[in-house]
Protein backbone atom coordinates (compact mmCIF):
# COMPACT_ATOMS: atom_id res chain seq x y z
CA UNK A 1 0.00 0.00 0.00
CA UNK A 2 2.82 2.36 0.93
CA UNK A 3 4.54 1.70 -2.39
CA UNK A 4 1.32 2.47 -4.27
CA UNK A 5 0.97 5.73 -2.35
CA UNK A 6 4.58 6.72 -3.11
CA UNK A 7 4.06 6.05 -6.81
CA UNK A 8 0.75 7.93 -6.74
CA UNK A 9 2.30 10.96 -5.03
CA UNK A 10 5.11 11.00 -7.58
CA UNK A 11 2.55 11.09 -10.40
CA UNK A 12 0.48 13.76 -8.66
CA UNK A 13 3.59 15.92 -8.16
CA UNK A 14 4.27 15.62 -11.88
CA UNK A 15 0.67 16.69 -12.64
CA UNK A 16 1.11 19.66 -10.33
CA UNK A 17 4.24 20.75 -12.19
CA UNK A 18 2.70 20.28 -15.65
CA UNK A 19 -1.04 20.76 -15.29
CA UNK A 20 -1.77 22.27 -18.70
CA UNK A 21 -3.33 19.29 -20.47
CA UNK A 22 -5.56 18.65 -17.46
CA UNK A 23 -6.58 22.30 -17.22
CA UNK A 24 -7.41 22.48 -20.92
CA UNK A 25 -9.57 19.34 -20.82
CA UNK A 26 -11.22 20.54 -17.60
CA UNK A 27 -11.95 23.97 -19.09
CA UNK A 28 -13.60 22.57 -22.21
CA UNK A 29 -16.89 21.44 -20.58
CA UNK A 30 -17.18 24.83 -18.88
CA UNK A 31 -16.55 26.66 -22.13
CA UNK A 32 -18.83 24.48 -24.26
CA UNK A 33 -21.69 24.47 -21.76
CA UNK A 34 -21.46 28.24 -21.36
CA UNK A 35 -21.59 28.69 -25.13
CA UNK A 36 -24.57 26.34 -25.43
CA UNK A 37 -26.32 28.13 -22.58
CA UNK A 38 -25.77 31.48 -24.33
CA UNK A 39 -27.04 30.08 -27.63
CA UNK A 40 -30.12 28.30 -26.28
CA UNK A 41 -30.74 30.19 -23.07
CA UNK A 42 -30.38 33.82 -24.15
CA UNK A 43 -28.51 36.36 -22.05
CA UNK A 44 -31.46 37.92 -20.29
CA UNK A 45 -32.41 34.82 -18.35
CA UNK A 46 -35.40 34.05 -20.59
CA UNK A 47 -35.50 31.80 -23.59
CA UNK A 48 -36.27 33.70 -26.77
CA UNK A 49 -39.33 32.01 -28.28
CA UNK A 50 -39.63 32.16 -32.07
CA UNK A 51 -42.54 33.86 -33.79
CA UNK A 52 -44.91 31.40 -35.43
CA UNK A 53 -46.25 32.49 -38.79
CA UNK A 54 -49.66 31.04 -39.65
CA UNK A 55 -51.60 31.49 -42.87
CA UNK A 56 -55.31 31.72 -42.04
CA UNK A 57 -58.24 31.34 -44.38
CA UNK A 58 -61.45 32.51 -42.69
CA UNK A 59 -64.32 31.00 -44.66
CA UNK A 60 -66.70 31.36 -41.70
CA UNK A 61 -66.52 35.16 -41.30
CA UNK A 62 -68.74 34.81 -38.23
CA UNK A 63 -68.58 35.42 -34.47
CA UNK A 64 -66.21 32.65 -33.36
CA UNK A 65 -63.89 33.02 -36.33
CA UNK A 66 -63.59 36.75 -35.57
CA UNK A 67 -62.85 35.92 -31.92
CA UNK A 68 -60.12 33.48 -32.96
CA UNK A 69 -58.57 36.07 -35.25
CA UNK A 70 -58.55 38.69 -32.52
CA UNK A 71 -56.86 36.28 -30.07
CA UNK A 72 -53.62 36.56 -32.01
CA UNK A 73 -53.30 40.24 -31.18
CA UNK A 74 -53.70 39.84 -27.42
CA UNK A 75 -51.17 39.16 -24.65
CA UNK A 76 -48.16 36.92 -25.36
CA UNK A 77 -49.76 35.72 -28.58
CA UNK A 78 -49.24 39.17 -30.08
CA UNK A 79 -45.46 38.67 -29.79
CA UNK A 80 -45.24 35.01 -30.72
CA UNK A 81 -48.03 34.54 -33.22
CA UNK A 82 -48.27 36.21 -36.59
CA UNK A 83 -51.47 35.55 -38.53
CA UNK A 84 -51.45 36.12 -42.28
CA UNK A 85 -55.01 36.28 -43.60
CA UNK A 86 -55.31 34.78 -47.06
CA UNK A 87 -58.13 35.06 -49.58
CA UNK A 88 -58.18 31.47 -50.81
CA UNK A 89 -56.68 28.04 -50.31
CA UNK A 90 -54.17 28.41 -53.14
CA UNK A 91 -52.69 31.52 -51.55
CA UNK A 92 -52.29 29.73 -48.20
CA UNK A 93 -50.61 26.73 -49.79
CA UNK A 94 -48.29 29.04 -51.71
CA UNK A 95 -47.22 30.63 -48.42
CA UNK A 96 -46.30 27.18 -47.12
CA UNK A 97 -44.39 26.33 -50.28
CA UNK A 98 -42.47 29.57 -50.05
CA UNK A 99 -41.75 28.79 -46.38
CA UNK A 100 -43.36 32.04 -45.26
CA UNK A 101 -45.65 30.19 -42.83
CA UNK A 102 -45.26 27.22 -40.51
CA UNK A 103 -48.85 26.11 -40.99
CA UNK A 104 -52.00 26.94 -42.91
CA UNK A 105 -55.26 26.90 -40.95
CA UNK A 106 -58.70 26.93 -42.57
CA UNK A 107 -61.68 28.03 -40.48
CA UNK A 108 -64.46 26.33 -42.45
CA UNK A 109 -67.72 27.72 -43.73
CA UNK A 110 -70.53 27.73 -41.09
CA UNK A 111 -68.08 27.00 -38.25
CA UNK A 112 -69.93 29.20 -35.74
CA UNK A 113 -73.37 28.14 -36.87
CA UNK A 114 -72.55 24.43 -36.77
CA UNK A 115 -70.96 24.73 -33.34
CA UNK A 116 -74.01 26.48 -31.96
CA UNK A 117 -76.32 23.92 -33.59
CA UNK A 118 -74.30 21.02 -32.22
CA UNK A 119 -73.12 19.89 -35.65
CA UNK A 120 -69.65 18.53 -36.29
CA UNK A 121 -67.36 20.67 -38.41
CA UNK A 122 -63.67 20.42 -39.21
CA UNK A 123 -60.87 22.97 -38.90
CA UNK A 124 -58.42 22.42 -41.77
CA UNK A 125 -54.70 22.32 -41.05
CA UNK A 126 -51.73 22.07 -43.40
CA UNK A 127 -48.31 21.74 -41.78
CA UNK A 128 -45.13 22.98 -43.42
CA UNK A 129 -43.10 19.79 -44.04
CA UNK A 130 -39.87 21.78 -44.19
CA UNK A 131 -40.15 22.64 -40.48
CA UNK A 132 -39.90 20.32 -37.53
CA UNK A 133 -41.18 21.95 -34.36
CA UNK A 134 -43.37 24.97 -35.12
CA UNK A 135 -45.99 23.10 -37.23
CA UNK A 136 -46.39 20.68 -34.31
CA UNK A 137 -46.94 23.62 -31.99
CA UNK A 138 -49.67 24.88 -34.34
CA UNK A 139 -51.23 21.40 -34.49
CA UNK A 140 -51.36 21.28 -30.69
CA UNK A 141 -52.84 24.76 -30.65
CA UNK A 142 -55.52 23.90 -33.20
CA UNK A 143 -56.40 20.72 -31.28
CA UNK A 144 -56.76 22.77 -28.11
CA UNK A 145 -58.77 25.37 -29.97
CA UNK A 146 -61.16 22.73 -31.32
CA UNK A 147 -61.64 21.24 -27.85
CA UNK A 148 -62.07 24.73 -26.36
CA UNK A 149 -64.62 25.77 -29.00
CA UNK A 150 -66.64 22.60 -28.48
CA UNK A 151 -66.63 23.12 -24.72
CA UNK A 152 -67.51 26.80 -25.04
CA UNK A 153 -70.34 26.04 -27.49
CA UNK A 154 -71.77 23.43 -25.11
CA UNK A 155 -71.53 25.67 -22.08
CA UNK A 156 -72.37 29.06 -23.53
CA UNK A 157 -74.71 28.03 -26.30
CA UNK A 158 -77.49 30.48 -25.46
CA UNK A 159 -75.47 33.63 -24.73
CA UNK A 160 -73.27 32.99 -27.78
CA UNK A 161 -76.35 32.68 -29.99
CA UNK A 162 -77.68 35.93 -28.57
CA UNK A 163 -74.36 37.73 -29.06
CA UNK A 164 -74.30 36.48 -32.63
CA UNK A 165 -77.78 37.82 -33.28
CA UNK A 166 -76.80 41.18 -31.79
CA UNK A 167 -73.79 41.43 -34.06
CA UNK A 168 -75.85 40.44 -37.06
CA UNK A 169 -78.49 43.07 -36.35
CA UNK A 170 -78.16 46.34 -38.23
CA UNK A 171 -79.17 48.71 -35.46
CA UNK A 172 -77.63 49.54 -32.10
CA UNK A 173 -78.43 46.74 -29.59
CA UNK A 174 -81.15 47.41 -27.05
CA UNK A 175 -80.03 48.01 -23.46
CA UNK A 176 -82.33 45.30 -22.11
CA UNK A 177 -81.09 42.70 -24.56
CA UNK A 178 -77.46 43.35 -23.59
CA UNK A 179 -78.29 43.16 -19.88
CA UNK A 180 -80.23 39.92 -20.30
CA UNK A 181 -77.40 38.39 -22.31
CA UNK A 182 -74.80 39.39 -19.70
CA UNK A 183 -76.97 38.02 -16.94
CA UNK A 184 -77.42 34.73 -18.79
CA UNK A 185 -73.66 34.43 -19.39
CA UNK A 186 -72.85 35.10 -15.73
CA UNK A 187 -75.41 32.52 -14.67
CA UNK A 188 -73.84 29.91 -16.95
CA UNK A 189 -70.33 30.68 -15.76
CA UNK A 190 -71.41 30.53 -12.12
CA UNK A 191 -72.08 26.83 -12.65
CA UNK A 192 -68.46 26.16 -13.55
CA UNK A 193 -66.96 28.70 -11.15
CA UNK A 194 -65.19 26.07 -9.04
CA UNK A 195 -63.37 24.75 -12.13
CA UNK A 196 -62.46 27.98 -13.87
CA UNK A 197 -62.03 30.77 -11.30
CA UNK A 198 -59.22 30.09 -10.54
CA UNK A 199 -58.58 27.28 -13.02
CA UNK A 200 -58.54 23.85 -11.40
CA UNK A 201 -55.39 22.88 -13.32
CA UNK A 202 -52.71 25.52 -13.70
CA UNK A 203 -49.46 25.52 -15.64
CA UNK A 204 -46.48 26.71 -13.65
CA UNK A 205 -42.90 27.09 -14.85
CA UNK A 206 -40.14 26.48 -12.31
CA UNK A 207 -36.37 26.57 -12.64
CA UNK A 208 -34.84 23.12 -13.16
CA UNK A 209 -32.71 23.71 -10.08
CA UNK A 210 -35.80 24.49 -8.00
CA UNK A 211 -37.65 21.32 -9.00
CA UNK A 212 -38.53 19.26 -5.96
CA UNK A 213 -40.29 15.94 -5.66
CA UNK A 214 -43.79 16.27 -4.27
CA UNK A 215 -46.91 14.18 -3.98
CA UNK A 216 -48.00 15.31 -7.46
CA UNK A 217 -44.82 14.26 -9.24
CA UNK A 218 -44.18 10.97 -7.51
CA UNK A 219 -40.86 9.30 -8.37
CA UNK A 220 -42.54 6.12 -9.61
CA UNK A 221 -44.21 8.21 -12.32
CA UNK A 222 -40.87 9.54 -13.55
CA UNK A 223 -39.44 8.08 -16.78
CA UNK A 224 -37.15 5.17 -16.07
CA UNK A 225 -33.68 5.01 -17.65
Amino acid sequence: MRTILILLLKDLRRDWKRPWSILIFAALPLLLSTLMAFIFGGSGGKTAAPTIHIALLDQDQDLLARAIRSMSSQGDAARQLQLHLVENEAEGLRMLEERRASAFVILPLHLTEDLLNGKTNTIGLYENPAEQVLPKVVRQGVTLLAAGLSGAADLLHEPLSEIRQLFKGSGFPAEGAVTAMASSSVEKLRGVRVYLFPPLIQFKTVKASDYRVSSTNAPEQAPKP
Partner: protein, 203 residues
Protein backbone atom coordinates in the same frame (compact mmCIF):
# COMPACT_ATOMS: atom_id res chain seq x y z
CA UNK B 1 -29.41 30.68 -18.99
CA UNK B 2 -28.52 28.90 -15.76
CA UNK B 3 -31.20 26.26 -16.33
CA UNK B 4 -29.80 25.46 -19.78
CA UNK B 5 -26.31 25.33 -18.27
CA UNK B 6 -27.47 22.97 -15.53
CA UNK B 7 -28.93 20.64 -18.16
CA UNK B 8 -26.00 20.81 -20.57
CA UNK B 9 -23.15 20.60 -18.11
CA UNK B 10 -23.32 17.09 -16.51
CA UNK B 11 -23.03 15.09 -19.76
CA UNK B 12 -20.43 17.47 -21.17
CA UNK B 13 -18.41 17.31 -17.96
CA UNK B 14 -18.39 13.52 -17.92
CA UNK B 15 -17.30 13.33 -21.55
CA UNK B 16 -14.35 15.69 -21.15
CA UNK B 17 -13.25 14.35 -17.78
CA UNK B 18 -12.81 11.01 -19.56
CA UNK B 19 -10.12 12.70 -21.63
CA UNK B 20 -8.44 13.96 -18.44
CA UNK B 21 -8.32 10.38 -17.16
CA UNK B 22 -6.33 9.20 -20.19
CA UNK B 23 -3.04 10.63 -18.89
CA UNK B 24 -2.26 8.08 -16.14
CA UNK B 25 -3.18 5.14 -18.36
CA UNK B 26 -1.12 6.52 -21.24
CA UNK B 27 1.83 6.43 -18.83
CA UNK B 28 1.67 2.63 -18.65
CA UNK B 29 2.07 2.27 -22.40
CA UNK B 30 4.50 5.20 -22.69
CA UNK B 31 6.81 3.74 -20.03
CA UNK B 32 6.71 0.37 -21.75
CA UNK B 33 7.55 1.95 -25.12
CA UNK B 34 10.33 4.10 -23.64
CA UNK B 35 11.77 1.06 -21.82
CA UNK B 36 11.53 2.87 -18.48
CA UNK B 37 9.00 0.37 -17.17
CA UNK B 38 11.58 -2.34 -16.69
CA UNK B 39 13.67 0.16 -14.70
CA UNK B 40 10.69 1.05 -12.50
CA UNK B 41 10.00 -2.62 -11.90
CA UNK B 42 13.63 -3.27 -11.03
CA UNK B 43 12.94 -1.28 -7.86
CA UNK B 44 10.98 -3.03 -5.08
CA UNK B 45 7.74 -2.43 -6.94
CA UNK B 46 5.54 -5.26 -8.19
CA UNK B 47 3.71 -4.99 -11.51
CA UNK B 48 0.38 -4.95 -9.70
CA UNK B 49 1.50 -2.13 -7.40
CA UNK B 50 2.60 -0.14 -10.45
CA UNK B 51 -0.72 -0.75 -12.20
CA UNK B 52 -2.76 -0.01 -9.06
CA UNK B 53 -0.95 3.31 -8.67
CA UNK B 54 -1.84 4.29 -12.25
CA UNK B 55 -5.48 3.28 -11.82
CA UNK B 56 -5.66 5.10 -8.47
CA UNK B 57 -4.11 8.14 -10.18
CA UNK B 58 -6.81 8.06 -12.84
CA UNK B 59 -9.56 7.67 -10.22
CA UNK B 60 -8.22 10.49 -8.06
CA UNK B 61 -7.61 12.83 -10.97
CA UNK B 62 -11.11 12.33 -12.42
CA UNK B 63 -12.76 12.78 -9.01
CA UNK B 64 -10.73 15.91 -8.27
CA UNK B 65 -11.40 17.52 -11.67
CA UNK B 66 -15.13 16.80 -11.42
CA UNK B 67 -15.22 18.17 -7.86
CA UNK B 68 -13.46 21.38 -8.95
CA UNK B 69 -15.87 21.78 -11.88
CA UNK B 70 -18.91 21.19 -9.67
CA UNK B 71 -17.67 23.76 -7.16
CA UNK B 72 -16.81 26.25 -9.90
CA UNK B 73 -20.18 25.96 -11.61
CA UNK B 74 -21.95 26.26 -8.28
CA UNK B 75 -19.99 29.43 -7.59
CA UNK B 76 -20.02 30.99 -11.07
CA UNK B 77 -23.37 29.87 -12.45
CA UNK B 78 -25.28 29.21 -9.21
CA UNK B 79 -25.97 25.62 -10.25
CA UNK B 80 -27.48 23.72 -7.32
CA UNK B 81 -25.90 20.29 -7.22
CA UNK B 82 -27.73 18.92 -4.20
CA UNK B 83 -26.51 17.27 -1.01
CA UNK B 84 -22.66 17.43 -0.90
CA UNK B 85 -22.26 13.87 0.42
CA UNK B 86 -24.41 12.41 -2.34
CA UNK B 87 -22.69 14.55 -4.98
CA UNK B 88 -19.31 13.29 -3.75
CA UNK B 89 -20.52 9.68 -3.87
CA UNK B 90 -21.78 10.15 -7.44
CA UNK B 91 -18.53 11.85 -8.53
CA UNK B 92 -16.43 9.01 -7.08
CA UNK B 93 -18.66 6.42 -8.78
CA UNK B 94 -18.39 8.37 -12.07
CA UNK B 95 -14.60 8.51 -11.76
CA UNK B 96 -14.59 4.78 -11.02
CA UNK B 97 -16.54 4.07 -14.21
CA UNK B 98 -14.18 6.29 -16.23
CA UNK B 99 -11.21 4.37 -14.83
CA UNK B 100 -12.81 1.06 -15.74
CA UNK B 101 -13.78 2.19 -19.24
CA UNK B 102 -10.39 3.73 -20.01
CA UNK B 103 -8.51 0.86 -18.40
CA UNK B 104 -10.36 -1.71 -20.50
CA UNK B 105 -9.79 0.37 -23.65
CA UNK B 106 -6.08 0.97 -23.01
CA UNK B 107 -5.45 -2.67 -22.15
CA UNK B 108 -6.50 -3.60 -25.68
CA UNK B 109 -3.81 -1.43 -27.29
CA UNK B 110 -0.14 -2.25 -27.72
CA UNK B 111 1.19 1.28 -28.15
CA UNK B 112 0.30 4.71 -26.83
CA UNK B 113 -0.71 5.88 -30.32
CA UNK B 114 -3.02 2.93 -30.80
CA UNK B 115 -4.54 3.53 -27.41
CA UNK B 116 -5.12 7.24 -28.09
CA UNK B 117 -6.92 6.51 -31.35
CA UNK B 118 -8.97 3.71 -29.82
CA UNK B 119 -9.91 5.60 -26.67
CA UNK B 120 -10.97 8.73 -28.59
CA UNK B 121 -13.34 6.62 -30.65
CA UNK B 122 -14.71 4.79 -27.63
CA UNK B 123 -15.17 7.99 -25.61
CA UNK B 124 -16.91 9.84 -28.43
CA UNK B 125 -19.15 6.84 -29.12
CA UNK B 126 -20.03 6.53 -25.43
CA UNK B 127 -20.66 10.29 -25.28
CA UNK B 128 -22.93 10.15 -28.32
CA UNK B 129 -24.91 7.12 -27.17
CA UNK B 130 -25.02 8.23 -23.55
CA UNK B 131 -26.51 11.63 -24.26
CA UNK B 132 -23.29 13.67 -24.02
CA UNK B 133 -23.63 15.28 -27.43
CA UNK B 134 -27.32 15.08 -28.29
CA UNK B 135 -30.25 14.65 -25.89
CA UNK B 136 -30.61 10.96 -25.05
CA UNK B 137 -34.38 11.18 -25.55
CA UNK B 138 -33.91 12.23 -29.18
CA UNK B 139 -32.00 9.04 -30.05
CA UNK B 140 -33.97 6.32 -31.87
CA UNK B 141 -35.12 3.45 -29.60
CA UNK B 142 -32.45 0.94 -30.70
CA UNK B 143 -29.66 3.47 -30.01
CA UNK B 144 -31.25 4.27 -26.64
CA UNK B 145 -31.10 0.55 -25.83
CA UNK B 146 -27.37 0.51 -26.68
CA UNK B 147 -26.83 3.80 -24.84
CA UNK B 148 -28.12 2.26 -21.61
CA UNK B 149 -24.76 0.48 -21.39
CA UNK B 150 -22.78 3.69 -21.62
CA UNK B 151 -21.39 5.00 -18.31
CA UNK B 152 -22.16 8.52 -19.55
CA UNK B 153 -25.87 7.76 -19.33
CA UNK B 154 -25.71 6.45 -15.78
CA UNK B 155 -23.47 9.29 -14.61
CA UNK B 156 -25.93 11.87 -15.94
CA UNK B 157 -28.91 10.05 -14.38
CA UNK B 158 -27.13 9.87 -11.02
CA UNK B 159 -26.00 13.50 -11.07
CA UNK B 160 -29.42 14.78 -12.11
CA UNK B 161 -31.01 12.56 -9.48
CA UNK B 162 -28.95 14.28 -6.81
CA UNK B 163 -29.66 17.69 -8.34
CA UNK B 164 -33.41 17.03 -8.24
CA UNK B 165 -33.27 15.61 -4.70
CA UNK B 166 -34.52 12.21 -5.83
CA UNK B 167 -34.93 9.64 -3.07
CA UNK B 168 -31.81 7.67 -2.19
CA UNK B 169 -33.39 4.46 -3.50
CA UNK B 170 -33.44 5.98 -7.01
CA UNK B 171 -29.73 6.74 -6.88
CA UNK B 172 -28.70 3.20 -5.95
CA UNK B 173 -29.18 1.79 -9.43
CA UNK B 174 -27.20 4.39 -11.43
CA UNK B 175 -24.43 4.59 -8.84
CA UNK B 176 -24.34 0.79 -8.68
CA UNK B 177 -24.08 0.58 -12.47
CA UNK B 178 -21.22 3.10 -12.48
CA UNK B 179 -19.36 1.14 -9.81
CA UNK B 180 -19.97 -2.14 -11.66
CA UNK B 181 -18.63 -0.69 -14.92
CA UNK B 182 -15.63 0.65 -13.01
CA UNK B 183 -14.84 -2.52 -11.09
CA UNK B 184 -15.39 -4.96 -13.95
CA UNK B 185 -13.47 -2.75 -16.41
CA UNK B 186 -10.60 -2.21 -13.98
CA UNK B 187 -10.33 -5.89 -13.08
CA UNK B 188 -10.29 -6.91 -16.73
CA UNK B 189 -7.78 -4.18 -17.54
CA UNK B 190 -5.47 -5.11 -14.65
CA UNK B 191 -5.46 -8.73 -15.74
CA UNK B 192 -4.83 -7.83 -19.39
CA UNK B 193 -2.11 -5.27 -18.57
CA UNK B 194 -0.37 -7.67 -16.20
CA UNK B 195 -0.37 -10.45 -18.78
CA UNK B 196 0.44 -8.50 -21.92
CA UNK B 197 2.52 -5.55 -20.90
CA UNK B 198 4.00 -5.68 -17.45
CA UNK B 199 4.77 -9.40 -17.10
CA UNK B 200 8.31 -10.21 -18.33
CA UNK B 201 8.50 -12.09 -21.60
CA UNK B 202 9.41 -15.74 -21.46
CA UNK B 203 12.77 -16.57 -23.11
Amino acid sequence: MNEVFAIMFPPTMFLWVCFVGQGPLQDILAEKQAHTLSRALAAPVTPLQFLFSKFAHCLLLCTAVQAVLVLLTGFLFHVRWGAPILVTAVLVASACSITGLLGATYSLAKTKEQANALSSGVLILCGLLGGGMVPFESLPPFLQAVGQWSPNRWAVIALRGVQHARPFSELVRPVGMLLCIGLIGSAAALAAFKRRIVAPRKP
